[in-house]
């Protein structure tokens, strides 16, 4: 519809010059007054200035003009005008230029007919025309609020008409024209605006009909006077209820308020209904408040509209279709002038666009639909047999030393929605769990197990997505490294050692306890035959025990704490060296073989006599540190045969294996802390001129002339013949307590206060072959068995550990060390446990002396 409309419009525009041409033909024969008139129009109206239009067309032109103004507001009027134009135009089109003359003739004929009518009639018609025009304008006013310009125009035109009326010689043929145009209007209504515009149109119609009906009758005969007709509201198209509160309804042309006509009460209404036969067709005009009686045509129109028929009676719906615009190509052009050249040539701008498109297509920037579809199909992942075999891989560049991400840990029983009851938290556990809120990593479980009766009741898990996200982050952000994880059982780390059962004999049970001392027993020493045991204690006594019975044979009182007792290894002598305070006592216990005992006494006596001669030759350094003395009579009776008075307190005394030499240690003695004395010659010497540190212990090598000297951290081995240092053993410990040498002389055991026992293989290295951490606290005593491959250690944790320490003759074979048995029978005393450990010289038995003033014998 819209298209047609615009088409029409364009056509109409084209036709304007033509339509203006044909009336010129009519005018040619007219008076010059007309020219004047045109001139006036020219001067006033810019629109019509260039057109020399016929007067008869004035109406239409006027309408057109108003149309220009209204266009935007109301389409109905617009279309009305279009149709009118169309009328002209179609006529012209049909006739074409060739038929022009014929057309003129017919027009003339028509004119002649109208001429026949009387002048009065003419006048009347003119009047009518004016009225109709005014009505039209009123319609437009209905829509626009009285445009002042329009009003001006109208008034001017009215004047013109008056002028014309005076002329009276103008041929009038527009009545038929108007009628025709009215018809077209209706058609246009139906076709263009449809039902929605019906009401609007209806309003217009009623008014026009009203006018028509009034004009058909005598002008003043009807009750509607022309004065009343003039009542026109200038308020425009506004909701009339705005005037509800006022007495007036609006303002007329002169600006006077239109007073609301009196509306009678209901009785009046009733009376009107009863009396007035036309009451049913009386309608109130909301604009003026006047009653309007509808004409027959209006009634018919309304009825037709109600019946949903085309309102115009005369319109034939089934009329044959007139093809106004033929589809056939006419031979002759529509227009007089030939087509411009450019209409035959392709458009440059279009060509440019097309070339751009072609280029884009070539470059692949744009794609045809088929291409696009193909691409889309390609974009979807296409799967195919990527791997030809299951486990064979193709050679290609791959990530360097790939570390596969660890798999997620799988949930256990506790995570179940219905776990076994023992997995649920009890109150205590729940409390604990809640307490660790601030440090969730310490929690045993990171959730509280819960039980649900059925699967249905398990709620959704809100953290699921978050957890998956965290896993994603782990996969690409978490640094990966290969960590070796042991899958072995802890037992596999324990070295495989031969079973102790296979390494028998070794002491297994506590056999005898030697009780009698009143204070800690610091030291013990079995005699070379293994029958007797000497022990020295803090209660200043030395006791001699019979090993087999546990009987104390002798108690020798000394003046000071006994720190060390050592039985002379020479079996021909019955002599015990006792370190008591700063005196070293050599005592003959008088146990065992009587012959040996008495012989010892005589030997010692002879020796003392020799010594007295040589006493003068002793160097000053030695003389100041040690003094050989004869015991007093009382002491002699106690068994003390020789007495060496040292300048410092003696902590240790040790015999050379031959039993002639013995060494004493005075840790406080600085460079005189080690003293080697010869019993036979009653002579002492200081082997070291320089202090190497706090000397802890010294030992003679069982076979060779070597002296082991343990300072606080190191063990030095000196060759006594060559008078030089042979070796320095690095113990790597803080404080050495004591040491023991293997009877073969190749291995050395060093006990330290920092809980270690170090096994040195002297042939191997200066570092310990093995560090044994058998004890929990300081190790105070360590001993080798003379005949069995056994060694024992005693420490402050009250334990005595007997171990198998096999030394092989084969140099390539390392010693075998197996801890065999642990005894813990001593009672604690001032944090001291076992002080000294000694093996029985013949049997696989071990003695231990403890802080609890007892000595214990463990036998196999």
């Amino acid at each position: 519809m819209r298209n047609i409309n615009s088409n029409l419009k364009r056509k109409q525009d084209e036709n304007i010059p033509r339509s203006s041409k044909s009336p010129v033909n009519h005018i040619e024969g007219d008076d010059q007054d007309n020219d004047e008139y045109f001139n006036t129009i020219e001067g006033e109206d810019a629109d019509s200035s260039d057109s020399d239009r016929e007067l008869e067309d004035e109406d239409s032109e006027n309408d057109e003009f108003s149309d220009d103004e209204e266009k935007s507001d109301d389409e109905t009027d617009d279309s009305e005008e279009d149709e009118e134009d169309l009328d002209d135009e179609t006529e012209d089109d049909l006739d074409n230029d060739t038929d022009e003359e014929v057309d003129d003739e017919t027009d003339d004929e028509l004119d002649d007919e109208t001429d026949d009518e009387s002048d009065d009639n003419n006048e009347e018609k003119l009047n009518k025309d004016v009225e109709a025009k005014e009505n039209n304008e009123r319609n437009s006013e209905d829509i626009e609020e009285g445009d002042p310009e329009l009003e001006n125009d109208i008034s001017k035109k009215r004047k013109n008409i008056n002028l014309l009326r005076n002329k009276k010689n103008i041929r009038e043929d527009y009545t038929s024209n108007t009628a025709e145009s009215g018809k077209f209007v209706r058609i246009a209504k139906e076709t263009q605006n449809g039902k929605s515009s019906k009401g609007n149109e209806f309003r217009i119609k009623t008014k026009r009909k009203d006018v028509v009906s009034s004009t058909e009758n005598d002008e003043y005969a009807d009750h509607d006077t022309s004065d009343e007709e003039d009542i026109r509201n200038t308020v425009g198209n506004i909701p009339m209820q705005w005037y509800d509160e006022y007495k007036h309804l609006g303002y007329d042309w002169d600006g006077k308020p239109i007073v609301k006509p009196e509306s009678g009460d209901k009785i009046d209404d009733f009376l009107k209904r009863m009396e007035n036969p036309e009451f049913w067709r009386t309608v109130k005009d909301p604009q003026t408040g006047q009653d309007v009686v509808l004409g027959d045509e209006d009634i018919q129109l309304i009825k037709r509209i109600q019946a949903q028929k085309i309102p115009d009676v005369s319109f034939d719906e089934y009329a044959p279709w007139i093809e106004w615009f033929t589809s056939e190509v006419m031979k002759t052009p529509v227009r007089k002038f030939p087509e411009h050249k450019r209409s035959f040539l392709p458009s440059k701008s279009e060509q440019r666009k097309i070339s751009k498109l072609v280029h884009a297509l070539k470059m692949g920037w744009i794609k045809t639909k088929a291409e696009q579809d193909a691409l889309r199909a390609k974009a979807e992942p296409q799967f195919y047999m990527l791997w030809t075999t299951d486990d064979q891989s193709e050679e290609m560049r791959r990530i360097h030393k790939h570390i596969a991400p660890p798999k997620r840990q799988l949930p256990g029983h506790a995570e179940s929605y219905n776990p076994p009851p023992e997995y649920l938290f009890d109150e205590k556990e729940l409390k604990q769990w809640n307490k660790q809120k601030n440090d969730p990593s310490k929690r045993k479980l990171h959730f509280v197990p819960q039980k649900f009766e059925s699967l249905r009741k398990v709620p959704a898990y809100s953290r699921y997505i978050k957890e998956r996200f965290l896993r994603c982050l782990d996969l690409y952000l978490c640094p990966r490294a290969i960590k070796m994880k042991l899958t072995i059982e802890p037992e596999a780390l324990v070295p495989k050692l031969p079973s102790p059962r296979d390494l028998q004999p070794f002491p297994t049970v506590l056999c005898i306890e030697y009780e009698g001392h009143k204070d800690m027993v610091r030291t013990i020493s079995p005699d070379p035959t293994g029958q007797y045991l000497a022990s020295g204690s803090d209660d200043n006594t030395v006791k001699i025990w019979e090993v087999n019975t546990g009987r104390c044979l002798k108690t020798i009182q000394t003046n000071d704490i006994v720190r060390c007792v050592q039985w002379c290894p020479n079996t021909a002598l019955s002599l015990v060296a006792v370190a008591s305070g700063n005196r070293l006592l050599l005592l003959n216990p008088h146990v065992g073989d009587f012959l040996i005992c008495s012989k010892t006494d005589t030997v010692l006596k002879e020796a003392s006599e020799i010594i007295s001669i040589d006493a003068m030759e002793i160097p000053e350094r030695v003389r100041s540190s040690v003094k050989w003395e004869e015991p007093s009579d009382e002491e002699y009776n106690n068994g003390i045969r020789v007495c060496l008075k040292h300048f410092k307190e003696i902590t240790q005394v040790t015999w050379h294996c031959k039993g002639d030499y013995f060494a004493t240690v005075m840790p406080d003695g600085q460079n005189r802390s080690v003293l080697i004395s010869q019993l036979s010659k009653r002579r002492s010497q200081l082997p070291f001129s320089k202090s190497k540190g706090l000397i802890q212990s010294v030992l003679f090598h069982p076979l060779r002339p070597l002296l082991f000297v343990a300072t606080q951290r190191h063990v030095r081995i000196y060759d006594l013949v060559k008078q030089q240092l042979v070796k320095k053993l690095m113990t790597n410990s803080r404080w050495i307590s004591t040491m023991a040498v293997h009877p073969a002389g190749d291995n050395l055991l060093v006990a330290t206060y920092d809980r270690k026992i170090l096994w040195f293989d002297l042939d191997l290295s200066t570092k310990p072959y093995q560090t044994l951490r058998l004890h929990g606290t300081a190790v105070r005593g360590v001993a080798y068995h003379k005949r069995y491959p056994l060694f024992a250690s005693g420490s402050d944790d009250r334990s005595l550990i007997v171990s198998h320490g096999m030394v092989y003759n084969d140099l390539l074979k390392n010693p075998l060390i197996v801890p065999l048995k642990r005894f813990q029978d001593h009672k604690p005393h001032n944090d001291f446990g076992v002080f000294d450990v000694k093996f029985h010289p013949l049997q696989p038995w071990v003695f231990s002396s403890g802080g609890d003033a007892t000595i214990k014998l463990y036998s196999n």
Partner: protein, 585 residues
């Protein structure tokens, strides 16, 4: 000429590692592009042995990549695609800014696409490798298949995830249909609701063994999607992962289907709706329904008539006798598993989670259906008389059929986990369910607590013991009499002893008695020996041993605690049942 001094960190760890910033500079990529590339190519930072040296003495902790990894990335064709993407984005942005929408549309239609096929092959040299790494892939795909349309997640992606995850499930179901494949593709399916941080998640853990690789995947409930805050979850990263995983899963599926003699884009034997996927997007519920329905439909096979059983031939090879015997046993067990639910017809009530149940029942050869009016794909109705089991998850039902068992869904899961048909009596409707045990716990671990229910599964004696305990409650009344009898017996014995003593005195000769060593003594001795031996552990291993022993002790403590709790619980239960009985009496 003076020899140049060697620069620090030009060799060794310092030269082996590169920080992320340096890597970005070297690759000339933005951080986002680099992240994407790393995810797709599977490049990850590595932990250096000596961090200080690796980050060239810089303080703090840097993200370090191996230099070879970055060099590996340098030759990746995808980098060019990423650069193209950058330019594409710039073009689109410009077109948008100048409102040249036509050009913008054209650009958008021609967006660059990244092909990842070669990367799948590069990251997973063999099919087995791909299967080994399938866990995360499946879990994420199953998650994405439940996602609605989200920003950063293209709709096609979640759609593809749906398709592929479904196909994988089908492959698992079908794996048994062909014994050739099944002979080295057995599957154990476990079910486990996961609980974390006190909030309970019901997600299903599945474990299937395909080609000797154990694949575990987690499937959330289809309603598990919850909007996540931007700070919490970055869907863009997950989407990048899924971008790769979909391709990988697609290829895995393809190979699986072909080894199973199935058409790859699967053809369902009965239903074939090509537009199913699109329709599914419209409604979440419909999607789930159709997904489950599809599970219930067998796939059509490319080779027909593959139902015959494979028999292992009896080769008379002495050396392989044991192996063949084992293989035969395995095949036998697979056969049993395949037919675990054979001949059973299950009907799922509406409140039951359908997806896992349908999948499992179909895996083990059962027939499933559900209410026709609720979800599509039902094969038979509730009124079918041949239904053997109806799975319900409600306390009671109005209308019941006598011909079938009304059991709770846990029965299915427990049956599958124990690989046998459990007695249904404990799982009847409204019964208090026995505990649901995790099938994933390591049974061989020492010092591990094994709940009695689990022990009963593997140990027949334990079952009897449990029964005895139960029956003991009932026979409490009889027991006092027994005790009296026992006492009498004892008295008699005592008399005998006295008599014999008298006799001994009379004879005056006592036969020599073998001294029996108390067993505890021997044990103690052994323990002591072991303790001494423990002290001989090398210094190198001492701490390790200590920590291992501590862990062991801790486990033992846990087991002991659980045991104690269980005992207390059982006693309580006993008291309760007794009091109930009394009340009843």
């Amino acid at each position: 000429m003076v020899a140049h001094r060697k620069k620090k960190y030009s060799t060794g760890e310092g030269a082996q590692f590169i920080s992320r910033k340096a890597a970005l500079k070297k690759l000339q990529l933005s951080l986002n592009d680099f992240r994407r590339l790393c995810i797709i190519k599977g490049i990850y930072p590595r932990e250096p042995r000596n961090r200080k040296r690796a980050q060239k003495g810089a303080p703090g902790i840097k993200m370090l990549y191996h230099i070879k990894d970055i060099q590996f990335l340098l030759y990746e064709p995808i980098i060019w695609k990423l650069r193209e993407y950058k330019i594409f984005n710039r073009k689109v942005g410009r077109a948008k800014a100048v409102k040249d929408f036509k050009a913008m549309r054209r650009y958008l239609a021609n967006h660059p696409t990244i092909k990842l096929d070669h990367i799948v092959k590069e990251r997973y040299p063999s099919f087995i490798d791909a299967l080994r790494d399938l866990d995360d892939c499946l879990t994420l795909c199953f998650l994405f298949s439940t996602f609605p349309s989200l920003p950063h997640i293209p709709r096609t992606q979640s759609d593809l995830c749906r398709r592929l995850s479904m196909e994988f499930l089908h492959a698992v179901i079908e794996a048994k249909a062909f014994p050739i494949v099944a002979s080295y593709s057995t599957y154990t399916i476990g079910f486990m609701p996961e609980i974390e941080y006190g909030i309970f998640a019901c997600c299903y853990y599945y474990q299937a063994e395909i080609k000797g690789q154990t694949i575990t995947w987690i499937v959330p409930h289809h309603f598990s999607f919850e909007p996540q805050s931007k700070a919490e979850v970055d869907f863009k990263i997950m989407s990048t992962f899924v971008e790769f995983y979909t391709i990988m899963l697609g290829f895995v599926n393809f190979r699986l289907y072909h080894t199973l003699n199935l058409f790859y884009p699967p053809k369902f034997a009965i239903m074939d709706n090509p537009n199913e996927g699109e329709k599914a997007l419209a409604d979440e519920n419909i999607f789930v329904a159709e997904r489950v329905a599809a599970l219930n439909i067998p796939l059509s096979k490319s080779v027909l008539g593959g139902e015959e059983e494979t028999e292992i031939d009896n080769f008379d090879l002495q050396e392989n006798a044991e192996a063949t015997e084992e293989a035969r046993k395995e095949i036998e067990s697979i056969k049993v598993l395949k037919n675990l639910f054979k001949g059973m017809k299950f009907f799922l009530n509406r409140e039951v989670p359908r997806e896992p149940l349908v999948f499992i029942i179909r895996c083990f050869g059962g027939e499933v259906s559900w209410d026709k009016s609720l979800f599509i794909g039902a094969t038979f109705g509730e009124t079918d008389e041949s239904i053997t089991h109806q799975i319900v998850d409600r306390p009671s039902m109005e209308k019941k059929y006598i011909s079938r068992y009304y059991i709770q869904p846990q029965w299915i899961f427990d049956c599958v986990n124990t690989r046998s048909l459990l007695p249904v009596s404990k799982y009847f409707m409204g019964e208090i369910l026995p505990p649901h045990l995790s099938p994933f716990v390591d049974k061989d671990r020492d010092e591990n607590y094994i709940p009695p229910e689990e022990r009963a599964l593997y140990d027949q004696d334990a079952v009897e013991q449990m029964h005895k305990e139960e029956s003991a409650d009932e026979s409490d009344k009889e027991s006092p009499n027994k005790e009296e009898e026992d006492e009498e017996d004892l008295n008699e014995n005592f008399k005998d002893v006295e008599v014999s003593d008298d006799k001994k005195v009379k004879l005056g000769v006592t036969p020599g008695q073998i001294e029996k060593e108390a067993p505890w003594k021997k044990k103690r001795e052994e323990r002591q020996e072991y303790k001494l031996r423990e002290k001989m552990i090398k210094k190198k291993h001492r701490n390790l041993y200590k920590s291992m022993m501590n862990a062991k002790r801790e486990r033992g403590k846990q087991a002991w605690l659980l045991n104690k709790k269980r005992k207390l619980h059982d006693e309580k239960e006993k008291v309760k049942t007794k009091s109930k009985k009394k009340i009843n009496n």
